[in-house]
Structure formats: C-alpha cells, structure tokens
Amino acid sequence: MNRPYVRPMAGWWKRDPFFMRYMARELTAFAVGAYAVILCVGVLRLAQGEAAWNGWLAALRSPLSIVLHAVLLFAMAVHAKSWFEIMPKTMPMIHVGGRRLGAQTITRAGWAATLIASLVLIALVWGWR
C-alpha cells in the first residue's frame, strides 16, 4: 500500500536550538526596521520646520525613548553578530597570498568594518557640534 505520510511543520522552529537562534536572528530584523522608521520620522519632522524638529528631539530624550533605544541597540548587536557569523557562507573562496581566507577572518573583518564605520560616524557627529 502506498500512502505516504507527510508530517506537519507547525512549531518547527521549536524543534531544535539551532532553529530558535535562527528565528531570533530573523526577529531582530524588526528592530532594524523600527529604528529605520524612527529615523524616517525624524526626516519628516525636519521637513515640517523647526518646532516639529525640536519636538522630535525632545521625544528622543524621554526615558521611554532611551529604554527603547537600549533595547533596539541590543537587538541590532545580536542581528549584526548573527549575520557576520553567516557572512562567510555567502562568499566565494577568497585567497590572500596563496592561502584561503578562513571563515573567522571574514567574520572579524565584518566587525572591524562596523567598528571603523561607527567610530568615523561618532567622530563626525561630535566634530559637527
């Protein structure tokens, strides 16, 4: 008798810790999206004039906003970490000086680029004041 049984997929992400970590990575994308929305609102308020812009700045300084930003920053750090870990999988073989670049080196290069970009950004913003 040929009657293949197809097992349900409901709750698949709870079956393995690996899948849970994957879902955590995917969830942190919402934090990235949320922060993009906050910045877009800032641009919109800027276009509406000085009062609107200052109102947005004041809203950012509220305790609720600071807690939200701390949560978003943490989620973004998790997001970056998980993506830098999978980054070597997205690349063809890279040879430097005849030796193949290891996965860990590629991941570290991602972190280094993030660090440099962040430092440059912070220096620019502080320099502006």
Binding site: R3, Y5, M9, W12, R15, F19, K89, M91, P92
Partner: protein, 251 residues
Amino acid sequence: MAESLKTIDVEVLRYRPEQESEPVWQRYTVPYTDDMSVLQALQQIKDDQDGSLSFRWSCRMAICGSCGMMVNGKPHLSCQTFLRDLLPGPVRIEALTHFPIERDLVVSVDGFVKKLESIQPYIIPKEPRTLAQGEYRQSPAQLEQFEQFSGCINCMLCYSACPQFGLDPSFTGPGVLALLHRYNADSRDGGQAQRMEVLGSTEGVWNCTAVGYCSEVCPKGVDPANAVNQNKVNSAKDYFLRFLSPRGSKS
C-alpha cells in the same frame, strides 16, 4: 551471562500505512555493546524482535548515504551514530523529517532524485575534445574550487536540517544545489548557462533564507549553505547582466 548484558531502550516512530493512519511510537529494549551503532540496534530489532520494522541501509561505513534518520531529533547517519554516546537512553529514532514517510524509517526520495536529475549532475564539457588532444589539465587551485562539494553522498540529512524545504518541498534544496555548484565550479565544465534556469528560480537558491543548519549536519563536511548563498550573487549577476548583453549575443 544474559543477566550481565547491558540494554538500552530504543523508541522508533512506526508507520505501517495498512494498519495506521498516522505514525506511532514503539519501544524496544536492545542489548548493546560499546561498539554498536544505532543502525546495528535497528538490525538487532529486525533480526531478533520484530521483522516488520523497515529501514534503509547498505554500506555501514558512512559512504552510501542510505541510512539517514532522525536520532534524538537530529539528522544523522545511523551507521556512524553510536549507542554509547546516547546513554542512558531512550534513543528516539524517526524517519528523516521534511520527507513523506513511506513506511517506518523509509522516506520517499522521488522528489530528491528528480531535482538531482534536473541540475545535470555531470560535467558538460566546454568544448568537444578528441582523445588525441589528451586529458583535461587542472591546477590544485582549480581542484580546490569544487573538491569540497564533491564529497556529497546524497544522504539528504541537509534536507532534514532545512526548514525552508520542509515548508516548501519544491525547494531544490541544499544537497542538490551544492552538487550543482560542484559542477559549475569545475574548470572543465561549461554547463553554467544550462543550469542557471534551476539555480536562479524561486525554487533554486532564492528559496534559501540562510538558516545554515545544512552545513552543520553534513556527515561529509560539505558546506551546502556556502554553495547556495554564493550562487545568489551569480544568479543576481545573470539577471542584471542580461540588460547589458542582448539575448543570444553571448557565445
């Protein structure tokens, strides 16, 4: 003597379509020695306890790719998974997930084989060569480009590690895409354009969401996640470059 034998409980997900509408767990107590694999436990059950138990196996040395199954929820080749590492038990054995169960631990492989055929898993020579022209020459660097991916034994463990395949069985999947890359990356091969239709489709690399578990469970150290994800770049290049070179103008 019989009293001193060590035993371990083994639970097997049974499915006999003629008597069950859905799979049920069945428990067996298996005498074991330190060198026994999960496959040997199943063989002990089939030979001495319950001849109706169905499972696939062949080589017993991790090269035929037949005996893949879920052992305690993770995809493994049962021949290289040892009972001593699973103490004190019980060991839960289930057919590879994401595949339809035909009977007990036997899954349906039709879809996998069709996908494998669709990628033309053989070298399509760049140009016809005569014997007089001699052999193809390949440098160690050219060999390295595909060697790792040629380790695939079609055991399908990576499909059981891939929720995207479970959610959408039309996904070509990690194993077949790794083999596709194995031939595409071979300097002797000229079949890239022919394989692009499969590779660049929704059922091809774009169904992958970079879970990455496929590469973790591979018993042969193949890295399917790498094969799939680097080909997203190739597929994107193929898509955008067509606007630069009119169709058919490429040799």
